[in-house]
């Protein structure tokens, strides 16, 4: 039993590792990615600060596991330019996010909106936790019911007392 669970855990861990590796591989082979030096700071620090603020919440479509703020992919650079232009045009953070979601979908948001489509994403883990907690409760209750009170004869109890007294 224990063995089986151990095996299962090991296999699951292995599969998870495989998933991670495959993601890394994709990120490395994706096109449009070019390594370049960081762009020089623009003249407006307030604008740059807002850009960083917004783009940390946005996903780079090319590398997928990097934010738009940290990605060196060319598309990320272009999108940052686009966000800069929107900030200059006086758009709110929400407007800018809406602009990108309209083009690339909810996937660009690291914190997707809570709506029926994303309920599973937001609440799924808690539902699983609840199911696990209920399962554990049921299991423990069953186990307690199964436990047989130790049957000690009076004689044995007497002997134990003697032994404990030393």
């Amino acid at each position: 039993m224990k063995r089986l669970i151990l095996n299962a855990t090991f296999a699951a861990g292995l599969s998870l590792a495989a998933v991670c590796v495959s993601h890394v591989a994709v990120a490395q082979t994706v096109e449009l990615r070019t390594e370049r030096e960081a762009a020089p700071m623009a003249e407006d620090p307030a604008l740059e600060a807002r850009l960083v603020d917004i783009s940390q919440e946005l996903r780079c479509l090319v590398c997928q596991n990097e934010s738009l703020a940290s990605s060196q992919a060319e598309l990320a650079d272009d999108l940052r330019q686009e966000v800069r232009a929107l900030i200059r045009a006086g758009k709110s953070d929400q407007d800018i996010k809406d602009f990108l979601v309209a083009r690339y979908g909810d996937f660009v948001l690291y914190r997707p909106e809570v709506k029926p489509l994303t309920w599973v994403l937001w609440f799924g883990p808690f539902v699983l936790l609840l199911i696990a907690a209920i399962g554990l409760g049921v299991y423990l209750r069953q186990r307690r019911a199964l436990a047989v009170p130790a049957a000690l004869s009076d004689e044995a109890r007497e002997r134990a007392k003697q032994l404990l007294k030393g």
Partner: protein
């Protein structure tokens, strides 16, 4: 028996989830543009001169928009497939030449007219060598039209209906199977309506 079965079933469930997860392509992101009007643009075409193209020019036709570039490796693989498809099916394909001059190119910082001319020359040479499936190809030099279409990797292919609504999007090199089984039937259906 039950003690072994429950973890086993749970484990199998986990394996199924992970197996499906492994097979899914993380690059395949559903486009929010499907069912929405194709974003408007007006761009210079591949041909010398000031002729411009806009999606409105295709109104009343079912057409394909194919994002490509001469520097794009996957496009080289896709191109013969598109050439054969365009020849055989008489389907209008419009090319969108995406950021032909790349940032690492010395010409990247040249004035717009020079960049446009260089991009046109390169694209013409490339199409002469590999065949030209496009009725016309437009020059998206700065990639901003690409952003409006949600382009994040080249090549990408869109199917747009008579009313100018995007009906399908595919990221990556199209295959003969995809064209025959998915895109062609879809276009035939859209043509009828």
């Amino acid at each position: 028996m039950k003690k072994v079965l429950i973890p086993l079933v749970l484990f199998m469930g986990l394996v199924v989830f992970l197996a499906v997860g492994l097979k899914r392509d993380p690059r395949e992101i559903p486009s929010p543009l499907i069912g929405k009007p194709a974003p408007h643009f007006t761009l210079f075409t591949l041909d010398p001169g000031d002729a411009k193209f806009s999606p409105i020019d295709m109104q009343g036709q079912v057409w394909m928009l194919n994002v490509w570039a001469t520097w794009c490796v996957a496009c080289r693989e896709e191109h013969p497939v598109l050439v054969a498809f365009a020849e055989k099916n008489q389907v209008p394909i419009v090319g969108l030449s995406y950021k032909e001059i790349q940032p690492q190119d010395p010409a990247y910082k040249s004035p717009f007219d020079e960049k446009l001319q260089l991009a046109r020359e390169r694209s013409q040479v490339w199409l002469k060598r590999h065949g030209n499936p496009y009725v016309t190809s437009v020059m998206d030099l700065d990639g901003r039209v690409g952003i409006n279409y949600g382009v994040y990797g080249v090549p990408e292919t869109y199917v747009i209906d008579k009313a100018g609504v995007i009906r399908y999007k595919f990221v990556g090199a199209v295959t003969p199977a995809l064209l025959a089984e998915k895109i062609l039937p879809l276009m035939a259906e859209l043509k009828k309506s």
